[in-house]
Symmetry: C2
């Protein structure tokens, strides 16, 4: 099977796992359960739980314990999208071609559905305690997951991003936002997969570095594609983001340096991952594809 077909199949399997942990839409609180599931079923690449599962597999993990954590990771990610889209934040009415949660269910329900998904993520992950006697690993996975999601992780990056919207960012602050907002959940995904499979602290630290670089390269590539896509679509010159006062890696460093840095970060990440005795060729391809993507 080639990579594209394998990816497609694995994304489907990942989605199936995530769906199995969604709550039943019944009882007095039916509306909120529908709102939660609406956003969870709105599609997406299921990238984070897939990375988690593949890292688990790379370290020889074969148990059930990874599954609630995979679902939890996707719930955390989806929670952040629902709240990002709210009128008080990005005020987006569509995501992935579907109306956003607050457009369908109203603002109050969207706020509560986001809260409920974040909480249900941990409620779901906590099921792992009943599955395996290896509680020490699960506790460790919990510590990583909560830390990488919170104010010293994704939510911290999100806050600084919101606070500095429309303002000029220096490089240091931009790096901070990218590292937390984009890289933190990718780091958590790979680290939790490794922890649950029993990887050593040293290897978990290596994965954190690898995932951090992949996340950063992914985000810079996003900035590059924004510029390139604008040029092609609207015929505006490259670098027009500069005039929109939106600070990106490209407006700060120029597109050539941005491209070089994506390449360098990508090479470093892949090389470092390759120093491990544990191998997962699919995971390696997946990480490369994230960075080399054209859209």
């Amino acid at each position: 099977m080639n990579f594209e077909d394998e990816l497609k199949q694995k994304v489907q399997e990942t989605e199936k796992t995530v769906y199995e942990f969604l709550p039943e839409e019944e009882g007095f609180q039916k509306t909120i359960l529908e709102a939660m599931n609406y956003s969870m079923k709105a599609g997406g690449k299921r990238l984070r739980p897939l990375l988690m599962a593949e890292t688990y597999r790379m370290f020889g993990g074969t148990g059930e314990v990874i599954r609630p954590f995979m679902a939890a990771m996707e719930m955390i990610h989806t929670h952040s999208l629902i709240h990002d889209d709210l009128p008080a934040l990005d005020n987006d009415e569509y995501r992935r071609g579907k109306k956003t949660t607050h457009v369908v269910y109203g603002e109050a329900m969207a706020i509560l559905a986001g809260d409920a998904l974040l909480n249900y993520a941990y409620e779901t992950a906590a099921r792992a305690f009943a599955l395996e006697p290896g509680h020490e690993r699960i506790g460790k996975a919990f510590r990583i997951l909560t830390a990488k999601t919170g104010i010293y992780g994704m939510l911290g990056g999100q806050c600084v991003d919101v606070e500095y919207e429309g303002k000029n960012l220096e490089r240091e602050r931009l790096d901070f936002i990218y590292r937390l907002k984009t890289s933190a959940l990718i780091e958590a995904s790979m680290m939790v997969g490794a922890v649950l499979a029993g990887a050593s602290d040293e290897k978990i630290a290596l994965l954190e570095r690898v995932a951090g670089k992949v996340g950063l390269a992914f985000q810079i590539q996003d900035d590059i594609l924004d510029v390139v896509s604008t040029t092609e679509t609207l015929g505006k010159p490259v670098g027009s983001d500069e005039e929109n006062r939106k600070t990106t890696y490209v407006t700060l460093e120029g597109i050539e340096k941005a491209r070089e840095d994506v390449r360098r970060l990508s090479d470093e990440a892949i090389e470092e991952l390759d120093t491990l005795e544990e191998k997962n060729p699919f995971l390696m391809e997946l990480l490369k594809s994230l960075i080399d993507r054209k859209k």
Copy 2:
């Protein structure tokens, strides 16, 4: 020491514990950290962490492991207040005589500060895994805490309450809201205290029933006080809530039955708690004071 003095002292100790787990206000994400701490430091009875600590003590608990869970419980409660007060929900500008979080920090930051507190609650509780080798109890406490906070607990009650605002409620739905919105965190507080001290499943189930009744009596007493306070302050007749179309226990059942039920629930809760061989006279007084309160 009489009960009032003991209570005052214990509330202070509880607050001190909670404060020790608040994040430092530093780094790029300083604003969100300030917003989180602003609401955490806005006062309050610290009732839930106090109930947790006293239940832990009742079952002989003496360790450090309870402390992160106490702080976590107060963070969860505070998260719910910040989001309740938002313009899209209750739109309250003041709480406990202080401006609410969105008034001070703006709506976007208040949404994110609420998210951040909910997440930080679990991040804080997860510190317990590093404190004690008794991981099995901690995992169990996690399962209770997440479940009682989520869609089958506080957040579920909150959603139904918001969805049916201004509509007539039948008794069954009102009970559901009270049980989840008010009782769930009180149940969690006592159950987590007991679990971490190593209480048996049977005793934990007993505490869940006791706390459920205390929470319900507490909420009905709230409805009664609303009416009584209205009568005294505004000279409106008892039962005027009925005209405001707000369904409460009093509008559904009348004030006499409400008073009887508070008494009955309270008596049942205290009697059942008293069947345990473990005793904590202060906890008993505390539960009684919650129900007998005049304000």
